[in-house]
Symmetry: D2
Subunit: 338 residues, 4 copies
C-alpha cells in the first residue's frame, strides 16, 4: 500500500509498504482523511524520537474494509480510530485509567499510524461515525475527545462563567464545549484578532486580548469576582499565573496546555487563599468518543471552521512544514487521502 | 397595606392589614408581581392547613423600599425572594442542607407571603434581578430554582439523552435546562398535544405521547439503549415505572414529581439489573438562585412562554379557581399587583 | 482433568473432562479453593437455566500454571479470578461500565467455572494475591468486590452513622467495610442472635433485632435523626421500606439486596420529603479487585470468621444442599480442591 | 472580666475589660481552655496587623452561661466555637462557600477572641461537645476541622496509600484521619525522629525521613507506583515538588501547607503526564464541626498525644514565645483558664 514513511528525522517520503493484514478482533480501515497535530511535527523533527521507519498520524478517519469478526462495526462503515492503545492488564488499566497505562502506545508514534492507505485497529478502538458528520472534519473528533476528557474533570453549573486562555484549535473547541454545557459568559483570551473573531463566531460571549488589562476585564465581565472556571490551553507559565488570577475565589483552573518550563513564578498564595485546584488533564479515554461523536452529530459543536487547510496526503511534508512557520494564524490542516 | 387574606379554607378576601416594619438585616420589598403554585391551591382549599389569617404567595417579585442595613441590595433594586426560611442552628443547616431544616418555614404558608403590597425578607434571602429579566416572569425564577437544584443532582455529559416525563411548568423548565446543559436528544413525554408543541418550541428534540408505545419510542431515539437520564415530573407511580423502563442500563432517574401513592408496582429488578439510582429532589437551596438568575438573564431559558395568564392581584380567588379546573392546558398564572 | 459437572438441573457429578489449553493472553490456573454462592444454588436447581453440561463456580482461587505471555502474573503466583467477562466493544464497555456489558458472561454460569482442576482466564481478569492472605478465604474476595463496588457509590464522611440491614455474608462484609471507612456508629440489623454476635465481633458498634422497634432504636442511636446511610442487603421489600424510614433526612439508601417482588408498599413521600436517593448496585468492576485485595491484605477486614464450613470439592452436591436447608445460621461454604 | 489584651505588637498583658453582654441569637460562653496557633504568633509579633487593643485566640472551649434564646445549646453545655464569621449575604455565602466570604471575620484576629474569661458567639457557631471528649483537648477540634475540610476534597477508596508530608500538629491529624478513612499504608514524612515516633504511635504504617531517598522509599512501599494521595502540610515549595514526585500517575496531591514563596521549581510536566490535580484547602466550613466532634467522641482520632504543654492563661506571653523558639519538637500548647 501507499504510505508516508518517516525514515529518520526530517526524512519523510511517500513509499510502497506492505499493507496490514486482517487480525481477529481487529478492524481493517481504508484511511480517507487524517489530521496533523503538533506531536506529528515533533516526531518529524526528531524532538520526539521514535523507531524508524515509522508511519505517523493519529487523527484518523476512514472506511471499514474488514471487520475481523467484530460486531460493533460492519464493512463500509465510516469510522474514526482511538489511537491510544493500552495493555489491559496493569494496575492503571484495571482501575479504569487506561489513558495512563504505563505500557500504553500511541498509534502513529509507537506503532504505524494513519498517514497511509490502510490501518488495522483493535475493534475496541474503532467508532462508527454517523452520516451527519462530514468526512473531512471527522479526524478532528480525536482532538475533541481530549477536550471532553478535560472538561469532565470540572463540573459546570449552567450560567457559570468560563475563561478559555489561548484560542488555537483546542481553545476553540473548549469555547464551544463550554457553551454547549451552558456556561455563560464564555470569555476567550488571545492576542490574535483573527482567533478572537473566530471564537466569537463560534459562540464566545466576549473575547479579549491577553496581557496587562486582561485580568481586570475578566473581573469586569464577572461582577468583579473573577471567572468560575479558567481553562488554560497555552502551557506558558506566565499565562498559567494569569489564569490563577482570573479565577474567582472558590473557582477551578484547568491546565490543558502542557507546561514545559520547570521553574517560574506562580501566585501560590492565591491558590491557597482562593482555595483553587490546579486540575491537569491528559489525552482521553474511550468514554469520551461516544460523547464527542454525539456532540458533533447533533451540531452542538462545529468543526469545519477550525479547518484552515485541506491538502493531499502526498503533501504531508509541506503541510508539516506549515506547522513550524509563523506566518499568520493557522488552525487545523486536514489531509485528504484522495 | 392592601393584601389578600385567607381567613379560613376557601375564605379569601382583599383587606387592609398593617404593613410589615423594617427590621435590621431585613429588606422591605414592595411586591409588584407574584406567581400562583399548586401549594397555594392546597392551602386555599384547606388540604394544607395553616394558621389563619394567612397571606399566601411564595413566588415573589418586587422593588426594594428599605434595605435594613443590608449591603447586597439598595433602594429601588428589582428583587426576587427565596421563600425557604431556615433556623441556621440545627444539624441540617450546619451541614449545608438548609433546605431540609426541620425548623424551616415557607413564606406564604408558615409566615405571611407575597400576595400583598409589602413583604419584609431577610437580607440573605433577597436576590437582585438584572434588567434583562422581565418583571412579569421574574416570580417564576423561584420555580426554576427547584429545577436547578434537582438537576444539580444528576451529572450530564453533553450529548447525553434525557427524557422529561410530564410537560407542565416544571417539565418545560427541565426540558430547557437539559438543553442548556448540552443534553441531546431531549425527549418530552405527555398526552397533551399543546404541551408537546410548547416543549418543541422551547427546544425539545422530540416529544412523544405517553402510554403504550412510549418506552419503545424512547429506545428508538437512543440507539436502542434507553435514555441516559429520565426526569419524572408527574409523581404518578405508573409514570415512575415507565421512567425506570425508559432509562438505559447504568443511567439515572430523577424523581421530581411528588409521589403520594404509598403502594404500587415498580420494576425493582430493573433497578438492580440496570444499576439505576432513583434520585429524589426537594425544593432548592440558596446556591440555586444565582444560577437560575444567570440562566434567565443570558437567555438560556425562556420563561414568558410558560405564562398562560396575567391577572390583577385582586382576582386571586378566581385565579386559584382556575388551577382546580380541567378546561384546557393551563401553565403559570402571574398576578400583577398593579 | 477432574471437575464437578452439572449435566442437567440437580444432576451434578464428578467427572473427567478435557483440561483447558493455554491461550495467548490467557492464564491457566490450577484451582485450589472455591466458594459457593446463592447463584450456584439457583443454577444447580434449574432456577437459572444454563447450557449443559456446565462446570459451575465463580468464587475462585488457585495457582498460575501457564501465563500465556501475560506479564501481570508469573508461574506459581497465587491468584483470584474476576468471573465477569465483557466484550470490550459495546457502548457500555467503552464508557467504562464493563459490569453492565449486555454481552457479558459470568464464568461458572455462561462459561465453565472454578469447580474443577483447571481454569483458563483472560490475563486481564487474574489478580495476584499476596501471601498475607489465606488461601482458604481468598475466594471470598470476589464477594467483597461486590461490596466495595456498592460502597463506592455512597460517599461517607468519617463519623457518619450507617445501618446495615441483613447480616449474611455480604452484610457482615458491609459492616466491616463501613468501619474501615470510618463510619460510626455502624449498626447491624437482623433477627438472628448469632449473626448479631458475629457482627459485633467484627466491629459493629451496635446490633438490633429487626421488626417493630428497630426504626426507633436507630433513631435513638443517631441523636434522633436517623442514619446518614442505610445499606439494605436482604432484598425484602418490607425491609427496604424500613431502610427508608431509618435514613435521616438528606441521607442515602443503598439497595444491595436484589428485590424480586414487583409490587408492594414503599414510603415514597418519605423519599421526597427526606430527599433520599435509592441507589442500586450490581456486581463489581475490575477497579474493585485491587481495593478488595489491599483491604484484606492489610487486615482492614477479616474473612475467616465468615467461613462456616470447609468441604472437599467432591462434596459439592452436599454443600449446595446445605444452602437450601434452613437449619441454623450458615455463612460461607469453602471448597478445598485438595 | 479578665482577658489577655494585645495593645500593640509584642505588648501583651492581662487586664480587666468589660465583659461581652448577651445578644439575641448569641451564646455567652465562659472560656475554660484555649489553644495557641501560629496565627496567634503572627498577630502577636505584628506580622499580621490587627486593630488594637485586641484579644486573640480562636481555638476555644468553654461552658454556656447564657443561650440568648438559641435552642441548639443550653446553660451549662460544654461547647466549642467556630471562629470563622461570615456575612450570609454575599455571593460566596449564598453558594455555600461561607469559608471564602470576602466579608468574613476571624474571631481572635478581626474581633475579640478566646484568651479571655467570656466570649459571645453567634448561636450558629457554637457546638455542643459530648462528655466523652476531654476539656483540655477540645480546643484542638477547631484545628481538626481544617483537616476534615481538606480531606473532604479528596476521595479515598479504602486500601489506598497516602503520604503525609510534614508531621506537625496538622500532619499528625491528617495521618490519623487518613487511617480512620481506611487508607493503607499511611506514610509519614519528616526529618524529626520524635515526630516520626509520634506518628507511628498514632497509626502511621510507615514513617520516613525527608530528603534524598524519600521518593524512592515511597515508591518501594507502593508497589513501585507512588502514592495514591499525597498531603503536603509544610508549605515549602521544595516539599511540594517532592510531593508531586511521590504521587502515582492518576493520583491526587492535597496542598494543606500554605506556600508563601512566589517563585520556584515545580515538576509541571509531571503534573501533566501523571494527570495530577493540585488541590488547595483553606480553613473549614460548619459542616466539618459535626464530623470532627464525632470522630473524637468515638475515638477514631486521639488529640491528647498532640498536646505538648498545658499552661495557665496568664502565661500566654511565655507560651507564644515558645512557638518562636527552636528547641526541640513542640506540638500544641493548651491554655487552662483556671
Amino acid at each position: 500500500m501507499r504510505a508516508m514513511v518517516l525514515r529518520a528525522p526530517l526524512q519523510l517520503e511517500a513509499d510502497e509498504v506492505s499493507a496490514p493484514r486482517p487480525d481477529p478482533r481487529h478492524v481493517l480501515v481504508r484511511m480517507t482523511h487524517s489530521g496533523i497535530c503538533g506531536t506529528d511535527f515533533k516526531i518529524y523533527s526528531g524532538a520526539i524520537p521514535v523507531s524508524y521507519p515509522r508511519i505517523m498520524g493519529h487523527e484518523m478517519f476512514g472506511e471499514v474494509v474488514e471487520t475481523g469478526g467484530a460486531e460493533a462495526v460492519k464493512r463500509g462503515d465510516r469510522v474514526i480510530i482511538d489511537p491510544e492503545l493500552y495493555c489491559g492488564e496493569c494496575f492503571h488499566c484495571r482501575i479504569g485509567q487506561t489513558h495512563l497505562c504505563p505500557n500504553g502506545l500511541l498509534v502513529g508514534r509507537d506503532t504505524d499510524g494513519g498517514f497511509a492507505e490502510y490501518l488495522n485497529a483493535p475493534a475496541s478502538h474503532v467508532y462508527h461515525v454517523p452520516t451527519a458528520i462530514d468526512s473531512q472534519t471527522a479526524p478532528m473528533i480525536q482532538v475533541l475527545t481530549t477536550c471532553v476528557h478535560a472538561q469532565r474533570q470540572i463540573d459546570i453549573v449552567p450560567g457559570e462563567s468560563i475563561v478559555v486562555f489561548g484560542l488555537g484549535v483546542t481553545g476553540q473547541l473548549h469555547v464551544q464545549l463550554a457553551k454547549a454545557r451552558g456556561a455563560s459568559p464564555v470569555i476567550g483570551v488571545t492576542r490574535s484578532p483573527e482567533k478572537r473573531a473566530l471564537a466569537e463566531s463560534l459562540g464566545a460571549d466576549l473575547t479579549i486580548p491577553g496581557g496587562e488589562g486582561a485580568i481586570d476585564r475578566v473581573r469586569d465581565a464577572t461582577e468583579g469576582r473573577g471567572a468560575d472556571v479558567v481553562i488554560e490551553t497555552t502551557g506558558v507559565l506566565l499565562s498559567v499565573a494569569s489564569a490563577v488570577k482570573m479565577a474567582r475565589s472558590g473557582g477551578r483552573v484547568l491546565l490543558f496546555g502542557i507546561i514545559t518550563a520547570e521553574e517560574g513564578a506562580l501566585p501560590f498564595y492565591d491558590l491557597y487563599f482562593k482555595e483553587l485546584a490546579l486540575i491537569n488533564s491528559r489525552v482521553a479515554k474511550s468514554e469520551d468518543y461516544p460523547s464527542a461523536i454525539a456532540l458533533v452529530q447533533r451540531g452542538a459543536l462545529r468543526l469545519e471552521p477550525l479547518v484552515s487547510d485541506v491538502m493531499p496526503l502526498g503533501e504531508l511534508k509541506a503541510a508539516i512544514g506549515m506547522l513550524g512557520s509563523t506566518s499568520g494564524p493557522r488552525m487545523k490542516i486536514i489531509l485528504d487521502h484522495g
